[in-house]
Symmetry: C2
Subunit: 404 residues, 2 copies
């Protein structure tokens, strides 16, 4: 008897061949098969209680080797992450890796479904920009027919342009680029950004309410279709978050952390990773919730285009969303009034000339609006309990990695 | 009486204010309104037979100017395309432009729906590459932490990698970059590419069959939802193409064109734009069909990775799809056998070192596969009868245009 396990997108099955007397060319081709070859099998599928793998086997009539594999595989179960990434397409053959991308496909589908049901327009904003999008730091640049072009770090300005164009509600899922030299588990030089922008909001509260309802919808659908598979493959339970998500202002967050013994210099205006984790633990213990919105960041810690509170211009109408102790989203109501926006840009020591095209968006009538964005892989990492975005990115790009 | 027309994503409506005696601050704010301002209106919607616009009007109680417009608009109905692109967000406010992006949103939705129903996996392949993807021509390059990175001209190699990874069926909708200096109506330096790759095909015929069924599904859904609106706004009828689409081999195409008096040097191995139009006219007259697959291109006119006919290695298992006289898709069965693929690369005078990582995809068992790709805006251009991709691109990028 000869046995071959074949694997395709739907799973694995045993192929059985009973050797025959005399010339048995099928036995010979099975003997010569190398692991991981791509083959076509013709045979009869039969039930067999003895077969562990699904109690099924294929009784072979013929095997056709369509894509033979070299005999020595360059990686195995014990290979390092870096080595696995060198041979990513072999690494991706592991069923748990295929599952990651099935889950990703489904997440994007349900995200879009929600948007479509809510009259969103999909945009494809350019990744080549004539001037720096925000800070000027972490930018890749290139020559574009004699002019310097920059790779978009985010579609921020262009999704806001859609608001000025009267599109009212837009989304985009597309690559963004960050010339960030860090090698942490959360960073890469290119990733897929999920972006949403909506008009006619009254405050950042409206944006948060949209986001939490959308995430509730998305995680419900993910749990329904892949909850069991995720729990089996990664040992992580998908929890559908209760609505509304807990909210704490940045000022409250500082007080909570101080009470818990984690002191951060308030003038920084932001949380450090340890602060995010501590706050998440507190929220989980207090509200039994994996998510928390941290709101009302000081203006000094946010970009110039975040709207300020009218009664307290030192604070912005902004938020971060923290999931399981990691910041996954940044959002805000934007400043849509030309004069105030220009003044805030000057106060942030920006020179107006390179961003004048952006300021112009607000010159001829723009509704109040806000939005948020996040990295798809960072979300997947949290969902699946992965250690690093590299495990959940199709092909990771970092300071030392441009290949394959 | 005062009248204001307000417009939002859903359409336009008349706002009516009956001036009152004495102090009328509402009348004053209406007088001071500038065109295209973003306003909030509170009032009662009433039926009124006299009102041309939908026989509806809003009897105003209050008007709140949330985003005032400067009084002089920089473009009007008669502005040149270039001028309109300078102020693209104002240009996009025209209802027919909003319609373009609603149609685009819907097309992508139904494309993905078909893929999802057919077990496709969505991939996000990197746009930063460590080496040139295909020819080496028309490439943008940049410094990536001391290494030269190239912007992907297509996801070709990476969607094939998914086949080597056992993903079997993948799609991607994402930007691609071409350092193409031409200013034609069909070209840009960045556009949204729609890409499909499927495993276990027996020939390019399987790929064409998939594509035509998919397009049939997509155009049926587009006609159903937006056929009337497209015909009204652009004067173009959306025709659902009959299945199967007509097919002619390249050799047959040359004969047909010669008979019609349009002679092309056969050694070029391709059609010129006039040839594409002439062939399309012939097909339309003969088969009453807007589409035609041109198949079996000579190897000299195709990339090294297109599979050759076993019986005639001078010809490839490839096709282009021509719609209304314009080539919109290129597709093929790919060569998945490592030895043959390497030989074909050498015969095409490529140096193997920069593409070795790609050739490696075929070393450890890869199923036969094929696929196709096209520019989303080129498809929209043909669907809506636009003169240039610039009209149907959210923000066009070309040799002279990086802004806004």
């Amino acid at each position: 008897m000869q046995f071959v396990i074949v694997r395709d997108q739907t799973g694995m099955v045993q192929v059985t061949h009973r050797r025959e007397e005399g010339d048995d060319s099928l036995a010979k081709s099975i003997e010569e098969l190398t692991r991981e070859s791509a083959i076509e099998v013709v045979g009869m599928v039969v039930h067999n209680d003895v077969v562990q793998l699904g109690q099924l086997e294929i009784l072979t009539e013929s095997i056709n080797v369509l894509g033979p594999a070299f005999p020595e595989l360059p990686i195995d179960e014990d290979s390092s992450l870096d080595n696995r990434l060198d041979w990513r397409y072999l690494d991706l053959r592991r069923p748990s890796n295929l599952l990651i991308f099935r889950v990703q496909t489904w997440i994007e589908h349900v995200m879009r479904q929600y948007w479509l049901e809510n009259e969103f327009i999909e945009i494809h904003s350019p990744k080549l920009m004539g001037s720096a999008s925000e800070s000027g730091g972490e930018l890749f640049q290139l020559d574009h027919f004699g002019q310097t072009a920059y790779l978009a770090q985010s579609p921020q300005f262009f999704k806001q342009m859609a608001m000025a164009a009267g599109f009212e509600r837009v989304f985009e899922i597309a690559p963004v680029f960050r010339a960030n030299p860090s090698f942490t588990s959360r960073h890469d030089t290119e990733f897929t950004s999920v972006d949403v922008e909506i008009s006619w909001v009254r405050s950042h509260e409206d944006v948060m309410r949209f986001e939490e309802e959308w995430l509730h919808y998305v995680l419900t659908a993910v749990k329904e279709k892949y909850g069991d598979a995720i729990s089996e493959a990664f040992g992580v339970e998908v929890i559908v978050p209760a609505l509304p998500f807990p909210r704490v202002t940045m000022a409250e967050a500082y007080s909570i952390l101080e009470r818990l013994g984690h002191t951060i210099a308030r003038q920084k205006g932001d949380l450090d990773p340890e602060g995010e984790r501590t706050l998440a633990r507190y929220v989980n213990e207090t509200f039994r919730h994996e998510f928390v919105f941290v709101t009302d960041y000081p203006a000094s810690a946010r970009p110039f285009y975040h709207m300020r509170h009218a009664a307290n211009p030192g604070l912005t109408r902004s938020f971060d969303l923290i999931w399981k102790g990691v910041e996954i989203t940044t959002g805000a109501q934007r400043e849509h009034r030309y004069d105030i926006l220009s003044r805030q840009a000057i106060e942030s020591s920006l020179s107006l000339e390179p961003i004048q095209y952006y300021l112009d968006f607000f010159k001829f009538g723009c509704p109040p609006h806000g939005g948020f964005g996040f990295g798809l892989t960072r979300m997947l990492m949290m969902l699946l309990g992965a250690n690093t975005v590299r495990e959940v990115t199709y092909l990771y790009r970092g300071p030392n990695r441009l290949s394959p």
